[in-house]
């Protein structure tokens, strides 16, 4: 309740300050105008293309992150020495994404979705791999013994014992991985790209078109808050039987 009141108050303050000119119109346009711009932008074909490009990039990057991250986490758990040795690199990669190498990837792959997918995928891979490792480590020893005593096959051991036991603990990492994929994609598009929602926001800044720039910023904000809300709800559902 208070939360919504704070958000509403913030919007009202922005509306008033932009309307009265306390915040210059070159800096920010009023929320009502952003809404009006959005209504006229969203149905256009170009917005459709940008949104489709951004969303497919995010999904591909996240899928790669998931498909590679979970086996990597399992590997780091199975081979503790590798986990220990690689830990500093992975920990560095956690907050120090590979996006430093964006110019390199641009030089090698050219200006298309490829470099963005690679970077966003590497950003989403690391939290997924790390939480998978931690989750597997924290499985109760009795479950391993149980699997042994019922002489489960390796396949059964992974699918029926480890996977269900670790899922609630892995999910926060998967959620973070998805959020990182979103951040990586939008940030990379924003720097240098040919298409996409992030690109469009940077493009309108360079055109000094503040209203349209804010409309695209609003799209990014709504998208990421929505993603976060959906994932948080999902997380609560998955972890319900644990908590």
């Amino acid at each position: 309740m208070v939360r919504w009141a704070i958000l509403a108050a913030l919007i009202v303050i922005l509306e008033v300050t932009t309307r009265t000119g306390m915040i210059s119109p070159a800096l920010m346009v009023s929320p009502s105008e952003i809404l009006a711009r959005l209504v006229s932008i969203v149905p256009t074909e170009r917005f459709g293309q940008d949104a489709a490009r951004t969303l497919t990039t995010i999904l591909i990057a996240f899928t790669i992150g998931l498909v590679l991250g979970i086996p990597l986490g399992v590997f780091l758990w199975r081979v503790p020495a590798a986990g220990r040795i690689l830990e500093p690199f992975i920990v560095t990669g956690y907050a120090m994404p590979t996006l430093l190498f964006y110019p390199v990837l641009l030089a090698v792959m050219g200006l298309n979705a490829g470099p963005i997918i690679l970077i966003a995928a590497s950003m989403s891979l690391i939290p997924i791999a790390l939480t998978t490792m931690v989750a597997l480590k924290s499985i109760k020893p009795i479950l391993h013994k149980l699997a042994n005593s019922v002489s489960a096959s390796p396949r059964q051991y992974y699918l029926k014992v480890l996977f269900p036991a670790a899922t609630p603990l892995i999910f926060p990492g998967v959620k973070l991985g998805f959020i990182y994929a979103v951040i990586g994609t939008v940030a990379m598009e924003f720097i240098l790209a040919a298409q996409g929602i992030g690109f469009r926001a940077g493009f309108y800044y360079r055109e000094l078109n503040t209203a349209d720039m804010w409309a695209y910023i609003a799209v990014v904000i709504v998208l990421s808050v929505l993603v976060n809300a959906v994932l948080t709800r999902l997380e609560k559902r998955i972890r319900r039987d644990m908590l």
């Binding site: 907050a95 964006y102 110019p103 030089a107 939008v186 924003f190 720097i191 240098l192």
Partner: protein, 266 residues
């Protein structure tokens, strides 16, 4: 690892410690080997395609930049922006995170807001910062501060909540002043999670300064790297990126080592 309180009369403990020490050395050797392997991989890649400059050429180009002194201005701009941005983020993030962590009400109100803000790619606000601060170190620092403040807040909040509830009671029973309670009880108890906040905050500040420089700047290593890409001066570009990666890795490893030590003590 830690050098405090050794009890020489227990050979078991020293033996264990020595075994641990040799393991640490072995691990570090392996880590060095990983780095060497990466450089080798880079060398192999560079011999197969023109698009990848060789390690030697890149380091030469970088050394040249250092020799003629043209890089110092950019190095300065980048490091300055990271330092200022991180300090602002720490000055705002630690107290705010602490307050949110202490109060149930504020936690209930702000947790989802902070989580939501965490999910937004904050670079998207860089154009606005550019309009406020103009192109320059100011905008870069503001970007770093804006990006780093949320991870610092989140880890501080988590640290406050994880404090053993006995500790505040202990503080009360010793009738410590509020200042003493914070400095003698809370900060030592929270040290590991504060370090996590500092490390992640540093990295995020660093990376966001670079992104911001990729976008628009007067001086800075990110700007130089992208400019070298534009002029197809690939050795310089690779050299600068190696320098950036080295700074990031070194800073991260130093902070991570401190974090590990604190974690072991706790």
């Amino acid at each position: 690892m830690s050098t405090d309180v050794t009890i020489p009369s227990f050979p078991q403990i020293t033996g264990h410690r020595e075994a641990k020490k040799s393991r640490v050395i072995r691990d570090n050797l392996w880590r060095a080997a990983v780095l060497v392997a990466l450089v080798l991989l880079w060398a192999v890649l560079s011999s197969t395609t023109d698009l990848v400059a060789s390690p030697a050429a890149s380091l030469n180009a970088l050394a040249e930049r250092f020799a003629d002194g043209s890089i110092y201005r950019h190095l300065d701009a980048t490091l300055q922006a990271v330092a200022i941005g991180f300090c602002i983020a720490a000055a705002i993030g630690f107290p705010l995170g602490y307050v949110i962590g202490r109060s149930k009400f504020l936690g209930a109100v702000f947790d989802p807001l902070v989580a939501g803000a965490f999910a937004i790619p904050r670079v998207i606000f860089f154009p606005i910062l550019l309009q406020i601060f103009g192109v320059g170190v100011g905008a870069q620092s503001a970007m770093a501060a804006l990006a780093a403040v949320f991870p610092i807040m989140v880890s501080t909040t988590a640290g406050v909540r994880a404090i053993n509830p006995l500790l505040p009671k202990l503080a009360r029973s010793l009738s410590l002043s509020p200042l003493q309670t914070v400095t003698k009880i809370y900060i030592p108890a929270m040290a590991p999670s504060l370090m996590v906040g500092i490390r992640i905050g540093f990295s995020i500040a660093f990376i966001n300064v670079i992104i911001a420089e990729f976008f628009a700047a007067r001086a800075g290593l990110g700007l130089q790297a992208l400019r070298a890409y534009g002029m197809l001066d690939l050795p310089t570009m690779y050299g600068i990126i190696v320098l950036l990666a080295a700074i990031a890795l070194a800073g991260n490893l130093a902070l991570w080592a401190v974090e590990r030590r604190l974690g072991e003590k706790a």
